[in-house]
């Protein structure tokens, strides 16, 4: 019962962060800031949801000799989250880089630097 409650809390927290990512995706002004919202919603929220699932697996855990196969399931889920932690920043970076190469103009706040634009001629 307690384990179910903890896992529900984790999953709900993940869903709330997903909502934040989706709202950011709609509300942010340009391509780059939207990619921020889209790419970041994935990391923490999917991590939290998967962690919630992994904790839920423990809900009918009785003894190590009988239920050790559920431990393997939990290990697989942790493997998935590690995989997400590796691939998510890579894809976010690839999207942004492709956007820059394609000539998408970033919306820069006034008085703030755009060093990439400054150094662009040197490349």
């Amino acid at each position: 019962m307690i384990i179910t409650a903890i896992s529900v809390i984790f999953i709900l927290a993940g869903l709330i962060f997903f909502i934040g990512g989706a709202v950011g995706l709609i509300r942010f002004p340009d391509f780059y800031t939207r990619t921020h919202a889209a790419g970041k919603g994935d990391t923490l929220s999917s991590l939290l949801v998967i962690l919630g699932f992994a904790i839920y697996q423990l809900h009918d855990f009785e003894s190590l000799s009988h239920d050790w196969l559920t431990l393997l399931v939990i290990l697989k889920m942790l493997g998935i989250s590690v995989f997400i932690l590796i691939t998510s920043p890579t894809s976010t970076h690839a999207l942004m880089d492709a956007g820059w190469e394609d000539g998408t103009e970033p919306k820069i706040h006034r008085d703030r630097p755009n060093h990439l634009n400054d150094d662009c001629e040197k490349f």
Binding site: I16, F17, G20, G21, V23, G24, R27, F28, P29, D30, Y32, T33, T35, H36, A37, G39, K40, T43, L44, S45, L47, L69, L72, L75, K76, G79, L85, I86, S88, P89, T90, T92, H93, M96, D97, W100, P106, K107, I108, H109, R112, P113, N114, H115, L116, N117, D119, F123
Partner: protein, 179 residues
Amino acid sequence: MASPETKRNLYRGVVFGLLFLTWMIFSGLFDAFHLTLGVISCGIITWMSSDLLFEDRTIPLSARLRQGVRLGGYCFWLLWQIVLSNLHLFRLAFSSPKALQPHIVRYETKLKTDFEKYLLASSITLTPGTVTIKIMGDRFYVHAISDIAAEGLDGEMERRIARIFAMKEAKQALEAPTS
């Protein structure tokens, strides 16, 4: 001091062990048939591409182990940073658009190897509010969504990454004259 050949074999053994552990976790079947399949496929992969996992094989395995432990500790610190900055981005998503100050900053790094740079770039991207757009030699171009997010680029991340691999530089300097 072990000879380079035995060291290479040790590294092969480590790669095989890691692969086989992964096999056992993902298969979950421990009868003779599936274990034999695992040994065969892990053996083929180790034979063909064990160079991919550890490039530099002059480093002793004990130093690798210490680096691995420190990398694990760094991951926990990074997870905490991810939580903090996700909260920041969450607040930004619901506040007025004026709260955003998007800009692109230059960030110079002292890290040398590709893996360290990869780790730093990934860490910058993982902490929300900052995304590495380009790496040009030692320069990272980072898109920051607000001033607060950009303050995260104060070099503490880089110091922590440098500390993980600090052993390596010292060891290489020590071993250079003998090898």
